[in-house]
């Protein structure tokens, strides 16, 4: 993981692979005099046992309190331990990139969806079918996330849709920064859709906002009805569940009702559709969901723009 720009070892197709040799080699030649004379008389004591409890910090995010060191003041030139208050969410950087992506997508008038699932649930097949059947009605672009290979992007491109492959290398999920690089490579058409196919992983992608309008979790009927209970975070973070490979149901002991009940226990607001990317069953319901949500999203965006103009 590169700690300089946060891009991990990921590479975006068509761009030079980031190479940060000597990743922590940047010299810090800052010459801060640190001679602010204000003394803060906080009665802070930081003893080794870390028994300090700071009741109700009222610092704004990233508020830094220089004067709170053990001696109350910081004197230039003297090496002294000091306490720096940070109060920052570790995901704040990702969320910041996600908000940038969201603003870019809104400006382009693009409705973005983040597809998450375990490996092998049929995400790519689902996207290939959806693109083939929707491309005459809507412009669609795709960002593909995998640890290695550009096989999925090639499958998507065979449908005629533009696709960018992001290889996360060691990474187990796409983050908003990678998707931002992906957006640089795509020409987004107004009123179109962006499908982001996340790395096949039912755990980590749940925590990373990419700037999408909705997460869609894909589960296949060959996986077991209790997946929503085993991996609750992903089902809690998603707005739609696509239960895929429905064509196989006659050959399995999979209980659709139990599976959906488990999912709804985790997330009562989750919408659920039963589909098959192979036979096409249920896909028209998915398209209706897509178009309805995209229209609602566009309306909300234009209302927001009008409200801003009026102000």
């Amino acid at each position: 993981m590169c700690t300089v720009c946060g891009c991990g070892t990921s590479s975006v197709e068509g761009k030079d692979r980031h190479s940060h040799e000597g990743r922590h080699g940047h010299a810090h030649d800052h010459d801060h005099p640190h001679d602010h004379a204000h003394s803060h008389d906080h009665g802070h004591s930081h003893d080794a046992g870390h028994g300090h409890d700071h009741p109700a910090h009222e610092h704004a995010p990233a508020a830094i309190d220089f004067g709170a060191g053990p001696a109350g003041v910081h004197v230039g030139g003297l090496s002294q331990d000091r306490i720096v208050k940070i109060e920052r969410d570790i995901l704040s950087k990702n969320n910041c990139h996600a908000n940038e992506n969201r603003a870019r997508l809104a400006q382009a008038g693009t409705f973005a969806l983040n597809f998450v699932s375990s490996p092998g649930s049929g995400k790519t097949s689902l996207l290939v079918r959806a693109i083939s059947e929707l491309k005459d009605r809507l412009p669609i672009a795709v960002i593909e996330g995998d640890q290695q290979t550009s096989n999925d992007a090639e499958r998507i491109r065979a449908t005629g849709a533009p696709a960018v492959q992001i290889n996360t290398g060691q990474g187990c999920h796409l983050d908003a920064h990678m998707v931002g690089h992906g957006l640089d490579q795509l020409k987004l058409a107004g009123g179109g859709l962006l499908f982001i196919e996340n790395v096949g992983n039912l755990v980590c992608p749940a925590a990373f906002d990419l700037g999408e309008a909705h997460k869609i979790v894909v589960l296949s009927v060959t996986e077991g009805e209790d997946k929503p209970l085993k991996y609750p975070e992903m089902f809690a973070a998603s707005d739609l569940l696509l239960l895929n490979k429905a064509d196989l149901l006659p050959h399995l002991d999979f209980d659709v009702g139990v599976c959906l009940a488990n999912a709804l226990k985790i997330n009562p607001d989750l919408q659920t559709l039963i589909v098959s990317a192979k036979s096409g069953e249920g896909m028209s319901a998915f398209y209706a969901w897509l178009e309805g949500r995209a229209a609602r999203h566009a309306r909300a965006a234009s209302n927001l723009a009008t409200a801003k103009q009026d102000r």
Binding site: H28, V84, S92, C172, V203
Partner: protein
């Protein structure tokens, strides 16, 4: 596994703060991790040792405070402790509990020189 990425962001955030504030060494990092945040403190520790190498946090002590989960039970209409995400309310046994705290993961403060 995403603890690796999170720990990377943590170290990056501290380096950034170091550049801004001119400290070059960190002795103690105090982290607050919500019990409901789907992050394993032990995994963070493991990743931290690996990622901190060569950075200004190398050798720093990691103090992790786990913030217990709390939720609002819709049926009891009050705050209740939550130990398991989407688990039942400890009082009424029903599953209508919305997690209200214990999901965050933040750097509280640093002891630096």
């Amino acid at each position: 596994m995403h603890e690796m990425a999170l720990t990377g962001s943590l170290v990056e955030l501290i380096e950034e703060e170091g550049r801004k504030q001119g400290f070059t060494r960190v002795r103690v990092v105090q982290l607050e991790i919500g019990a409901m945040g789907s992050v394993d403190p032990e995994a963070i520790r493991f990743c931290f040792d690996a990622i901190a190498r060569g950075a200004i946090v190398e050798g720093a002590r990691l103090d992790i405070v786990v913030v217990p989960g709390e939720g609002w039970c819709l049926d009891c209409a009050k705050s209740v402790p939550v130990v398991e995400r989407f688990g039942p309310c400890p009082e009424c046994g029903r599953h209508h509990v919305q997690v209200t705290s214990g999901e965050d993961m933040r750097v509280k403060e640093l002891e630096v020189e």
